[in-house]
């Protein structure tokens, strides 16, 4: 069984805390993505599962076994490194065979296992080449073949697509999802690319400064970010966040922001539970912000056309920037024009200005 569990795991390098009190369980056969910016501790967490880093505190379990004191070679995991870490002096065939040799798989059994991995990853005809003679995409597939050849309990992947060009990345993303389905094994996948996380993961675990921020299915994380960090990290363009203060109005509660007041839905107003002025951060995704009749006035700073849609970057009265997503079929506003912004009230997010935590309706 390929479950992986972090139980109150911390990792410190001197005075720097790379991972702080991480508790996270990965289900058997799940595709879990560890997502976060550089230095957030995601790779350290992955390396602790691999046995390449020792946790300072806490327990790591793979299957039913606590592996804190188990050497990397005995953990029954396979890892694909960001640089692929292919042995440059070995041919592709020898690279793929290496884990079998290391684990003393009988010599006569190896060719069939290697051949299957080669077939799975479409590496026919490359077996006698050296890694330096391969393209980035081919190297990536060799690294994957080397990982799958052993049929480990858990696959660990450390940003395996980051060295590929954009087109190949999209293609390989789909191949990895397919591979996960075919192998029916647990995948723990580290990336800083939220598109990869959203498209590939059964669940996403978002980390920042070594602290786990939120775990959940991609859609849930997108629709209900647990805090401001997650809200700003997930989504492209990211969620607009506007600082403001709550004000009571005859119809309910509104948030006063530069350029006007945005009335909140009744459920959110109740959740805020305030009569007075409370500093909050209002969040709205670009697709839920429209240009037309609305309570807020803003100036168009830049219009970015992406072909199928456009991003209209608007400046509020106090200089804060917000982005509205528009279909290309709609008439584009001109740079410098004064516009009114309207908000889809059903998709407003409110965060506490101090704790940055989500205020749930």
């Amino acid at each position: 069984m390929g479950q992986v569990a972090f139980l109150n795991v911390s990792k410190r390098f001197g005075t720097f805390t790379a991972v702080a009190d991480l508790t996270l369980e990965v289900e058997d056969q799940e595709f879990l993505v560890l997502l976060g910016p550089s230095g957030c501790g995601k790779t350290t967490a992955l390396r602790m599962v691999a046995g390449l880093e020792e946790p300072t505190n806490g327990t790591i379990r793979i299957g039913n076994r606590v592996v804190n004191d188990v050497e990397a070679k005995d953990r029954d995991v396979a890892m694909v490194f960001q640089s692929y870490a292919l042995y440059p002096h070995m041919t592709v065939g020898r690279n793929i065979e290496f884990p079998l040799r290391s684990r003393n798989v009988p010599k006569h059994e190896r060719p069939a296992i290697v051949a299957e991995a080669v077939r799975t990853l479409d590496l026919d005809g490359l077996l006698d080449r050296r890694p330096a003679q391969l393209s980035g995409g081919q190297r990536q597939r060799v690294a994957l073949a080397r990982a799958i050849v052993r049929r480990p309990q858990v696959f660990l992947m450390d940003e395996p697509l980051s060295n590929l060009d954009a087109k190949l990345r999209v293609q390989t993303r789909a191949e990895l999802i397919e591979l996960h389905r075919r192998l029916a094994t647990t995948f723990v996948y580290v990336t800083h690319d939220q598109v990869e996380a959203m498209t590939m993961g059964d669940r996403i675990a978002i980390m920042n400064h070594g602290v786990l921020q939120q775990v959940g299915p991609p859609q849930e994380v997108y629709e209900k970010p647990a805090n401001l960090f997650v809200a700003r990290f997930i989504g492209n363009p990211p969620m607009n966040t506007i600082t403001g203060t709550t004000v009571r109005e005859p119809e309910g509660v509104a948030v006063e922001v530069p350029g006007g007041r945005i009335p909140l839905p009744a459920a959110l107003a109740r959740a805020l539970n305030t009569d007075g002025a409370r500093p909050v951060v209002l969040g709205v995704r670009p697709e839920h912000l429209a240009i037309g009749d609305g309570p807020i006035s803003a100036t168009v700073a830049v219009v970015e056309s992406l072909g199928h849609e456009r991003h209209v970057v608007c400046r509020l009265d106090d200089g804060q920037l917000v982005i509205a997503r528009q279909q290309s079929s709609v008439t584009s506003p001109t740079d410098g024009a004064t516009v009114r912004l309207s908000f889809n009230r059903d998709h407003l997010h409110v965060f506490d200005a101090t704790t940055e935590a989500r205020i749930e309706a």
Partner: protein
């Protein structure tokens, strides 16, 4: 073509351009030669001229007394010397000395470099100690080993029953070899340590996760990636061993008998003790040819097993 030139340099007379370009190239080349002139002069004076002169001297027989004219001996002298028992003995001793020192030196350097590469507290002190012999002169190293091998006060002699290694026909060459290995261990250690530092950690980590134990990681990953460094250390070590002189001069004077009389020391004795410059020249040329052939053999045979990262 001329249209392209016109676009790049409008208004300049097209006919004069190639001449100008040529003269600027000549000027640049002249400056280059001027800059290498000091090195060239030193090289010609101290390396190239003596090297060529050696071939001339090898064809003359020098009388043992100063002031008498040297006599033309031709290639006959070369044949006589190369077929002599003295030469064969010196060649045998030189080869034996290289066999005793080069592999052992490289293996010890590798072992120390691997040990010093561990992430342990205070390992820097050991690195300094291991590389310190590089800063020790031949004279100092020889004094240390004369003392260690001294039958009365030497620790090494004491450990094996007060034997006089340096005067023992069987043990003199191994004893000098130990001193030589010790002296050159520092540079081998530094070379291999640098090579080890260039082995990417990620490859060793990948091998670890792939199930390889410490020995397998060393044999299958570290050693192949270290092969260019080991090869370099072996080639340079072999050349150095064939040119060994200081330790032999200071520890044994080529003795007892001719048991440590390597080619360089034999050539030295011919010049400075017997005033036989012609004979010394033949020995020097023979040493040059042997070292050259050995290096070519190493480059063609051993280098096939070296991985240069392509």
């Amino acid at each position: 073509m001329s249209q392209a030139i016109d676009r790049l340099a409008p208004g300049v007379d097209a006919a004069s351009r190639p001449v100008r370009r040529l003269s600027s190239r000549v000027r640049e080349a002249g400056l280059g030669y001027l800059l290498i002139l000091p090195s060239l002069l030193a090289f010609v004076t101290f390396e190239f001229y003596p090297f060529v002169r050696n071939f001339y001297l090898a064809l003359y027989r020098t009388p043992p007394f100063p002031g008498l004219p040297k006599r033309w001996a031709g290639l006959g002298q070369v044949g006589d010397i190369l077929s002599s028992g003295d030469f064969r003995n010196s060649l045998k001793v030189t080869v034996l000395f290289a066999v005793l020192t080069v592999p052992t030196g490289v293996i010890l350097g590798l072992a120390l470099a691997v040990l010093a590469h561990q992430q342990l507290k205070g390992i820097g002190i050991y690195r300094t100690i291991f590389s310190s012999t590089v800063a020790t002169s031949v004279a100092v190293a020889s004094v240390i080993f004369v003392t260690l091998f001294n039958p009365q006060v030497g620790l090494l002699s004491y450990l094996v029953g007060q034997q006089d290694f340096l005067q023992d026909p069987t043990w003199a060459l191994p004893a000098v070899s130990i001193a030589f290995i010790w002296q050159h261990l520092g540079i081998t250690f530094i070379l291999i340590s640098a090579g080890l530092g260039a082995v990417p950690d990620e490859l060793l980590e990948a091998a670890h996760v792939d199930g390889a134990g410490a020995w397998s990681r060393f044999r299958n990953v570290t050693l192949p990636l270290l092969s260019p460094t080991i090869f370099f250390a072996t080639v340079v070590g072999s050349i150095t061993a064939f040119q060994a002189f200081g330790q032999i001069d200071l520890l044994t004077n080529g003795g007892p008998g001719d048991k440590t009389n390597v080619l360089v020391y034999a050539a030295y004795t011919e010049v400075f003790q017997r005033n036989n410059i012609g004979r010394a020249a033949v020995l020097a040329i023979a040493l040059f040819v042997i070292t050259l052939v050995l290096t070519i053999v190493q480059l063609t045979v051993l280098e096939r097993r070296v991985f240069y990262g392509r």
